[in-house]
Amino acid sequence: MKPLARLALILVLTLTVGAPAVRAGETFPPTTAPAGMTFIPAGDYAPLLRTKDEPERTPVAAYWLDIRPVTNAEFLEFVRAHPQWQRSRIGPLFGDRAYLADWAGDLELGSAVPADAPVVRVSWFAARAYAKSAGKRLPTTAEWERAASAGFTTPVGASEPGFSGAILAWLGRPTPSPLPAAGAGRPNFHGARDLHGLVWEWVDDFNTAMTTGESRGDTGLERNLFCGAGAVGARDLTDYPAFMRIGMRSSLQANYAVPNVGFRCARALTPPSSDSSLRDSSVALRP
């Protein structure tokens, strides 16, 4: 019933905007979803901040996204199979001193770290290596934001009563310790859970988030944004959570391990055989 209702809504929306006919792999899944993943239909992403040359909305191709963030138990299996990512082995370039610091040991979660809670204190390098080992990758900023912009019952959360309020309420609460189980949250319109309300998540291209003048001199980027780091040039001044996510991403470095940043994986609908994301360089080249 629910998938049907969803499809009906998609059809109505598609017809309303006069878009081309609904096609498999764009607006509904071409195949059964891989285990633990959900289909995110093709759509677009409106960056909160953009340079004057960038379009207001950029298209995002359909893809598979993990239903929930990766758990401690899953990450434990990963470091068991790939010892170079264990806490005592990772090395400072790939994971800072906080890396898995709440675990009891290299291969032991301990009583304070529930197996079904999202893994946090993982670096970008480790999250990416995990994704590769699973034949997946990290979602891009555009993909993640596209999936997370959906409400619980409609494709556009912002226009759904109570949706933004719930995110704001989460932002206002301290991170609980221990974290609750991953996947317990209410599924959004696309079937993904806990994109909001549990932990922040790594994205593959987090280092594209620049809120200060990074290039063309110390003020160049600011000149190229509508306005500095700023609210005046932003898409939606009321989208406080989006500002928070940009601030969070721009403050990260790839070896940081943060107590409330975890991750989930994504996968292309049909991964090409020569997909460079499967090249596995950091997994393979490190011991």
């Binding site: 340079t51 040359d53 960038e54 379009p55 090395g91 400072p92 370039l93 790939f94 970008w124 390098f125 291209d205 280092n207 594209t208 988030a209 620049m210 990074e214 290039s215 063309r216 001199g217 110390d218 160049g220 980027l221 190229n224 721009s250 470095q253 790839a254 460079s276 994301s277 090249r279 360089s281 950091s282 080249l285 490190r286 011991p287």
Partner: protein, 214 residues
Amino acid sequence: MKLNLALALSLLVTAVSAIATDATTAPCPPPAAGAKPSCCSEEKVAAAQPLSDRSIYQLGATWINDAGQPATLVSLRGKPVVVAMFFAQCEYACPVLVQDMKRLLAALPEKVRGQAQLVLVTFDTERDTPAALRAFRERMALDERWTLLRGDNESVQELAMLLGVKFKQDARGQFAHSNLLTLMNAEGEIVHRHGGLNGDISEAAKVFALAAKK
């Protein structure tokens, strides 16, 4: 100054007590016309020692230099290195970045200046072909101490992540990016980061000279 000295010393200590991480066997890049002379003798010596866990050379990517030959960063092991990421069509920042590297070079003691290697890695994996990099080398008058590299998207992203360089391609194909010089010792360990353009490079030169002496 004192802080940087302490930092450099601690990095050196780390290098000495480094634990075994990766015995990356880098293929010896064939000597390229106009590029630096063969690195192989040094590399053989260096390859005997495992890389420290702070060494950027753990990133085992293979690049293509401006002579069109395969090249690795680890082949620079044994010498002090300055790395910057750039793109050849950059209108403003990158030429200034290169000038900053030249100023840094000029500020070094003569002995270190002779050893120092300067590496430019492009963000622009599409347009910066070896020919485009060669043209950049000529335009900027870069001698044999300079290595210009291109790689695949993933290698570029991983290097940028290791160095802490942010970058983003805009709709016109230009890149917004951090202006960052990364100074590494002979083991590929970062000893100093110099951000911004046209800044005072004396501090960077001091730390670099110290790191180069071992």
